[in-house]
């Protein structure tokens, strides 16, 4: 099993690479996307504007690789760039793989939302083990207007904690920082993705 951790050029990609190795992946960190991987990961680092610049430059190859059925995992901002657009650092276009947009949490709560918070599941078989578990969040933006979700959290508002469409998965939480639960999630992904 070979995973690509996409290097946008900013932030900590060390943690997600270590976590993927722990669950059995051979990990390549690169900014060049190709179809010779079993999983491609958009790490949850940086800000939307800078990550969006990367996406804009690579949109064609990303869409092509996604089109041939290579599984993707987007974490936090890595999930947000799979939406249609986002408002972090001004209006930026995303890949549009999921319906919806990323915007600041619209509630009177401390931001960023940083720390361990519980997630809950609905209508899911693959991710039922996440129900009622604490996972780690560090974000101010969430996905709005999505087409439904199987895992969600509450922080002033209810928000999607996990989006899925075919073999594309996005998580608002950081599995690589969520201790045993996060490792279990990444490990479940390997069997679920059949890669």
């Amino acid at each position: 099993m070979k995973a690509l951790v996409v290097n946008y050029g900013v932030g900590n990609i060390f943690s997600i690479a270590s976590a993927l190795r722990k669950v059995g992946f051979e990990v390549v960190v690169d900014s060049r996307v190709g179809s010779n991987y079993d999983l491609i990961v958009f790490p949850g680092v940086g800000n939307f504007a800078s990550v969006s610049r990367f996406v804009k430059l690579n949109a064609d190859v990303l869409n092509d690789v996604m089109g041939v059925g290579i599984p993707f995992l987007g974490i936090c901002i890595g999930m947000h760039i799979m939406l249609e657009y986002g408002f972090e650092g001004g209006l930026n276009r995303g890949l549009g793989w999921f319906k919806g947009f990323a915007d600041k949490i619209r509630a009177d709560v401390k931001l960023p939302h940083i720390g361990w918070d519980k997630v809950y599941t609905k209508n899911t078989d693959d991710f039922e083990f996440l129900n009622g578990q604490y996972v780690y969040f560090m974000h101010s933006y969430i996905a709005y207007n999505t087409e439904g979700y199987e895992v969600f959290g509450y922080y002033g508002v209810e928000f999607p904690a996990l989006l899925r469409k075919g073999t594309i998965v996005g998580t608002q939480f950081h599995p690589e920082k969520s201790s045993k639960v996060g490792i279990k999630f990444l490990s479940s992904l390997t069997s679920w993705l059949r890669c």
Binding site: N12, S18, K22, K110, P112, I114, G115, K177, S179
Partner: protein
């Protein structure tokens, strides 16, 4: 509801964990990699790693130790000490830090907070504030507590929030290492004046001190070092104790 976090702090000098009283009289407390992974097993919610002499000696953080520590952890790691430029921040993050903590450089160059939070996101930028009571005011200290500024703590906290800091790590120099309890008055004043998460630090000596902190102040996390390193408080027992008293923690 979001859980209150318990965060062991590893003050590191020359690749070893050390701990002093009121920022001086340092004693060896062990290997950072071993301690960090033991704390994760015991239920720590995050680890903070401070290269405590870096500001004084103008030394860069020991990034190799950061890498080794980060590679055994699957909880967040914050790294601070001697980070002075955007490049330092970038290097710390690419070495495996999930967040960076900036203290002296934030005071000396406010633009650093704004630039770092714009580039890496507010959620990765912690501003550390070392506070000491002088007469009826709390003033900000820099350079590992050796240099006094004319900044008042609450107004500085609001300033860094406006500049894009994602969290404040608030340390009471007066209480640090004393084991007499957190500085409730200081912590309450800061946590009520900002709308970003606040981590309280300095003075933990007893389980009761954590309960006092969380029940009186609207803080998000409690940081401690010596009581954990010396085995006086075990993290799992602390969290069980807090949970029994109705404080939400991750167990």
């Amino acid at each position: 509801m979001i859980a209150k976090r318990i965060i062991p702090c590893l003050d590191v000098r020359d690749g070893r964990v050390v701990k002093g009283v009121r920022f001086t009289d340092l004693k060896d407390k062990g290997d950072p990699v071993e301690l960090a992974s033991r704390y994760e097993d015991e239920g720590a919610d995050e680890i903070v790693f401070l290269d405590i002499t870096a500001s004084i000696e103008g030394r860069r953080t020991l990034f190799e130790v950061v890498k080794n520590t980060a590679s055994v952890l699957s909880i967040p790691l914050t790294v601070g000490g001697g980070l002075r430029t955007l490049n330092d921040v970038s290097y710390a993050l690419s070495s495996g830090a999930d967040k960076v903590s900036i203290n002296t450089a934030a005071v000396e160059d406010e633009k650093l907070i704004r630039n770092a939070s714009t580039e890496f996101g507010s959620q990765s930028i912690v501003v550390a504030i070392d506070a000491k009571r002088i007469a009826d005011k709390y003033l900000v200290y820099t350079r590992s507590g050796t240099y006094i500024t004319d900044l008042e703590v609450v107004s500085w906290a609001k300033t860094v929030e406006g500049l894009g800091a994602g969290e404040i790590l608030l340390t009471s120099i007066d209480m640090d290492g004393t084991r007499l309890g957190y500085d409730i008055e200081l912590t309450k004043a800061v946590s009520e004046s900002v709308k970003i998460p606040v981590i309280a630090s300095g003075g933990a000596g007893d389980l009761r001190h954590f309960y006092e902190l969380f029940s009186i102040c609207n803080v998000d996390a409690a940081l401690a070092a010596g009581v954990f390193h010396d085995g006086i408080i075990r993290i799992y027992e602390l969290k069980t104790y807090l949970k029994n008293l109705g404080i939400e923690v991750r167990l």
